[in-house]
């Protein structure tokens, strides 16, 4: 039996209480909306991308602790990264939360994001953790529809 603290780790609780980069970005050149129908999480991600680099990234919206913390920690992790680095991080994060074994030992380091490793024991919450990431993905591809985690 996994302990609740594996899911609600201190760093996750901290980011959910005081989300970082939690504001609208007025000079954004990419944005997308995400919606998780299961718990009603709504998120908008704003990006300012220049020369293939994520110069700035913010989000706003409302949701459960997991989705808010995930969005907050994601923005912290992606700021300053290249699009390719962001993509690699997305892939690695996604494999971790869905519990896919990760045999690739690449240069990608999840850092603090590893706090979400415990979520693969909570299948109904995986979508909460991945919503922000799917939304960024859509923003970078300039898709105009609302991203859903369905």
């Amino acid at each position: 039996m996994s302990d609740l603290r594996d899911l609600y780790q201190e760093v996750i609780l901290d980011h959910s209480r005081r989300p970082r980069n939690f504001r609208r970005l007025n000079h954004a050149n990419h944005r997308a909306d995400g919606y998780n129908a299961l718990c009603g999480d709504r998120i908008t991600v704003y990006l300012q991308v220049e020369d293939g680099h994520i110069k700035d990234i913010t989000f706003d919206g409302s949701g459960c602790a997991i989705s808010k913390a995930s969005a907050s920690m994601m923005t912290a992790a992606l700021k300053g990264k290249t699009i390719e680095e962001a993509q690699a991080l997305f892939d690695k994060f996604h494999r971790m939360v869905t519990g896919e074994s990760d045999s690739e030992v690449g240069p990608v380091n999840l850092g603090k994001l590893a706090a979400f490793a415990g979520i693969c024991d909570y299948p109904s919450r995986v979508k909460c953790a991945s919503l922000a990431w799917h939304t960024v993905h859509a923003a970078l591809e300039d898709k105009n529809e609302v991203v859903s985690t369905e």
Partner: protein, 423 residues
Amino acid sequence: MVSSRILELKTQANSESCFDVEKIRADFPILHRLVHGKPLVYLDNAATTQKPQSVINAITDYYTGENANIHRGVHYLSEQATRDYESARETVRQFLNARESREIIFVRGATEGINLVAHTFGRQRVRAGDEIVISAIEHHSNIVPWQMLCEQTGAQLKIVPVDDQGKLRIEVYERFLGPRTKLVSIVHISNVLGTIVPVRRMIEMAHHRRIPVLVDGAQSAAHLPIDVQALDCDFFVLSGHKIFGPTGIGVLYGKAEWLEEMPPYQGGGDMISSVTFEKTLYNVIPYKFEAGTPHIAGVIGLGAAIEYLNEIGLNVVSQYESELMAYATRKLESIPRLTIIGNTEEKASVISFVLADIHPHDIGTIMDREGIAIRTGHHCAQPVMNRYGVPATARASFALYNTKAEVDALAAGIIKVQEVFKG
């Protein structure tokens, strides 16, 4: 004479006060399992109820010893299956106190019952400019079929508003009823707020203007005795799985005079009396609305569930549950930073709540690890969420096998949630 009547009354009162919840729990095998190493506390009865052994046995026995198609074989098994299927229809008739068993139509559930009425009655009678009245506290299944009908016909939906406590604004309802109103379709007990809607009064008001009324009894049939003749509703729908029966089976009750006039719903076998390529004659009710091989095992299981409820008596159940509700309400109200959504006096079996800034989804996950099953989310009633300005709620919903000890476990679980998020 007199003394024996007093004696009778006494034994009756006695049997009511000794509602033995432990004895009832023993009938439900699933209640004895562990979840995440803790005893299961099942408080998601508004989503679906658990099944007593007698229902499980009825389904197993049907498949083990009696399986055959109905209404068409002359062989032994087919005759036996037909008899059991039709006797379940009679059981349902008595349960709802319908006048005749041909007024009982088996469908997949409350959702299909409403869709059937929208497709047949609706298509036949609703025209551009007409109005259909529903309320602000409907389940999606009593909103979307009418929206679809309105889109097809150019009719309009009128939504009876709800006050802050969760009570429908009857004076607005009364104003809505007019010459263009073709149907009222209204929930009996709200699956989010627990509000018991005064359907009887609302039906009377509609009938003054000759407007028929459908009652969505998905949440009421397991908690209150239903008498469709006393209510005088024109249609009533329920889902078997919410009254301790199997999934995939439900009931549409309709007054015979409506059902006879309505066109069929689906075409196929059983719903016809003769078919040629030139002309097909439809079967009589209820068969006109039961095209194809039905969910025979489901019907038999539903019959067993109703027999189980009859043995206990819904009057007794309803009395026990209101005590449990009162206890749970007091208990939850005493928890700081907890707000109950839905505070009408007339309430049954459902408590929705929110916890200051803790999201219901996080509440649900933490409760689950304690073995407590509650529902979190919008409960298929997004307009209700919007009305009360919350994205979602946590909902505990009760049934006859729940105990005060389980309410205590719920309260302890909520305190635990608050501890996890403290700081």
